[in-house]
């Protein structure tokens, strides 16, 4: 298992290298530069030129690239042009927010998604199944920004139950966190609930058809063991893959959701960095986020090993 981990880590290196090349290249190709964001509405060309010079943006691309990769080798991701903070620090500051929100959304997704999927599979072709799958279909069909807007209109403006946006850290006030995070988390979760419920259902249906489930029944095991132990434990393996994908979708989704609900997370950070042409922030931030996603996938792989002895005892 340790070997597997090492192998996967080594495999991640070229991926991350390519990611950094792509993000560096993309950013430099984007027209416009950070001076516009710094200088604001009433910038004069002279101000802009001063800023460009100050930021070293007047230097050749290769010099800038060497500088960035040089820093990277020393573990320095550079400093955000707009925020004036180190990229690493800014990212780390935002990360807990996105992670807390994603964890919340993931928790909702797991509970509702797996629950609905298992229930639908066990009650295949009944109204329970059809209702669950209808909701799941709705979930994967409603754009999350639309859902977010509807939530704001209904629950914040209309009913006044929840704040329209903003974010309160859990450590500051758990209740405040709950209030500010619920709408974004639910709007983030719905798509993934749909995905997960569908996958869980089809996986469960497939697993329930497996010979070992028949064996478990033939042994006279009670139903809760047949379904909950023999079937579900095996279904968890493909479900875990989807959970890995869902984590990545949550990060993607957070781009829109955080903007919509004014939540200071990674998605908002990176979007505003792209729009403000904050080169180091985008390059470093994207690298960190993708590294994190790669780690998540690594975690998923390791989880397989935990779930599946065939992988654990491979060779």
């Amino acid at each position: 298992m340790g070997r597997l981990l090492l192998l996967r880590l080594a495999g991640a290196v070229p991926v991350l290298l390519l990611v950094s090349v792509v993000s560096f290249g993309l950013m430099r190709l984007i027209p416009g530069d950070p001076s516009a964001a710094i200088a604001g509405l009433s910038a004069t060309p002279r101000m802009v030129a001063q800023i460009r010079e100050q930021l070293g943006l007047d230097q050749p691309l290769l010099t800038q690239a060497l500088h960035w990769y040089g820093g990277l080798l020393q573990g320095d991701l550079g400093r955000s042009i707009l925020l004036g903070q180190s990229v690493f620090w800014s990212t780390m500051q935002r990360l807990p927010v996105t992670m807390a929100l994603s964890a919340y959304a993931l928790a909702i997704t797991l509970v509702v998604g797996i629950g609905a999927g298992v229930l639908a599979a066990l009650r295949q072709n009944t109204w329970v199944d059809q209702a669950a799958m209808m909701v799941a279909m709705l979930g994967i069909s409603v754009p999350n920004f639309f859902l977010g807007l509807l939530f704001i209109i209904w629950f914040a403006v209309g009913l006044g139950w929840l704040p329209t946006g903003g974010y309160i850290a859990f450590t500051d006030s758990p209740w405040g966190w709950f209030q500010t995070s619920t709408m974004p988390a639910v709007s983030l979760a719905l798509l993934n609930i749909g995905l997960l419920a569908r996958i869980t259902r089809s996986t469960m249906l497939e697993v329930l058809r497996q010979d070992y489930v028949r064996t478990a029944r033939a042994k006279g095991l009670p139903r809760h063991l047949v379904v909950g132990k023999h079937a579900l434990a095996n279904a968890m393996i493909p479900i875990t893959t989807v959970v890995g994908i869902i984590v990545s979708l949550l990060v993607s989704g957070s781009v829109v959701t955080e903007t919509l609900f004014s939540i200071p997370g990674i998605g908002q950070l990176l979007t505003s960095a792209v729009l403000g042409r904050d080169y180091p922030m985008v390059q470093g931030g994207l690298l960190l986020v993708t590294a994190l996603l790669v780690l998540v996938n690594l975690g998923v792989d390791m989880l397989y090993a935990v779930l599946d002895p065939r992988i654990r005892y491979e060779r």
Binding site: A10, G11, V13
Partner: protein, 325 residues
């Protein structure tokens, strides 16, 4: 006289696992075929038996170069197949055909039977008219109406006939049959075996007949080779082999086949030669004789060195120290 096909020291090893960018650690080696030499004469049928995982299918594919060997050569009609490429390889392939086990996976589900049977002709730019395919279908015992239909409309036995028609349409001189009847019901299996025998008699094609069913192999073969873990351990004329098996593995294999009568079964059980345990993994082949871990008569030397395949009786080669070094 030169044999039609001559395999010399064929080896096929597989690296298992990705190994990652830096190839951390050594990757285990699966030794599917581990040094096999054999020859087949024109018009002859060589039966190849062995338990699952012994490498018999891989060997079959090596002989017609569906797989490139790790080492060794295959001389077919005087040409080294392993050195051929491009057009010359394509030309050599005209003379070879293959029939597979799975009657469901062996036919492209999207093609009509006619298109399937015709394909080899098209590949070699030959006349591919309806008459030619119809004649071939008739030869394998399918009605002319079959041509326009799709594989899923046929039963397993009929599908296997389609596969045979495809393999024979170019009139090859060598045919590899890779477990052609294993997936079929016994009642259907006999028909296919008979068909193959008839066609061979009519077309004079040499055959490598791979199977795990010793009865079928005995029925169809002229000679039989027994494989164990990537090696041929015994090879002989079929009567000799079944009547007087020399290798302990061959003996055990034959003894394990149930007789088709309950009479005397208690006695049969009592004196049956048994081999312990299961076939080891091809990734961890035992040192010395690869059968020694299960051999009821293993000697110390068997653990040390691998016995070569030696002709101990006329036309009977055995790789076993029981009959001397």
């Amino acid at each position: 006289m030169n044999s039609l096909l001559d395999a010399q020291g064929l080896v096929k090893h597989y690296q298992i696992g990705g190994g990652g960018l830096f190839g951390l650690g050594e990757r285990p080696l699966l030794k599917a075929v581990d040094g096999v030499s054999l020859s087949i004469d024109a018009g002859e049928t060589l039966g190849l038996v062995g338990e699952s995982g012994c490498g018999k299918s891989t060997l079959g594919r090596l002989l017609i170069r569906l797989l490139p060997p790790t080492a060794g050569r295959v001389i077919f009609e005087g040409q080294d197949l392993t050195s051929l490429h491009g057009a010359s390889l394509k030309q050599a392939r005209r003379a070879m055909g293959v029939v597979f086990q799975d009657p469901f996976g062996a036919l492209d589900p999207r093609m009509t039977v006619e298109a399937i049977v015709r394909e080899p002709l098209l590949i070699h730019g030959e006349r591919a008219d309806r008459g030619r395919t119809a004649a071939m279908l008739e030869q394998v015992g399918l009605p002319a109406s079959a041509a326009a239909r799709y594989p899923h409309e046929f039963s397993g036995g009929q599908r296997q006939r389609i596969g045979i028609a495809r393999a024979l349409i170019l009139q090859p001189r060598f045919l590899v049959c890779d477990e052609p009847v294993s997936a079929l019901d016994v009642s259907v299996q006999a028909g296919i075996v008979n068909l193959l025998q008839d066609l061979q008699a009519r077309l004079g094609v040499a055959m490598l007949f791979i199977a795990h069913d010793l009865g079928v192999v005995r029925h169809i073969s002229d000679r039989v080779a027994v494989m164990y873990l990537g090696r041929v351990v015994e090879q002989a004329d079929k009567r000799t082999l079944y009547a007087r098996p020399m290798h302990p593995y061959t003996q055990a294999l034959i003894a394990a086949v149930p007789a088709l009568t309950p009479v005397g079964r208690a006695e049969r059980r009592a004196k049956r030669i048994r081999v312990g345990g299961d076939i080891p993994s091809a990734m961890a082949i035992p040192s010395g004789c690869r059968f020694h871990t299960r051999c009821p008569v293993a000697m110390p030397v068997c653990r040390e060195t691998d016995p070569p395949l030696v002709e101990h009786a006329p036309g009977q080669s055995v790789a076993c120290y029981l009959y001397g070094g």
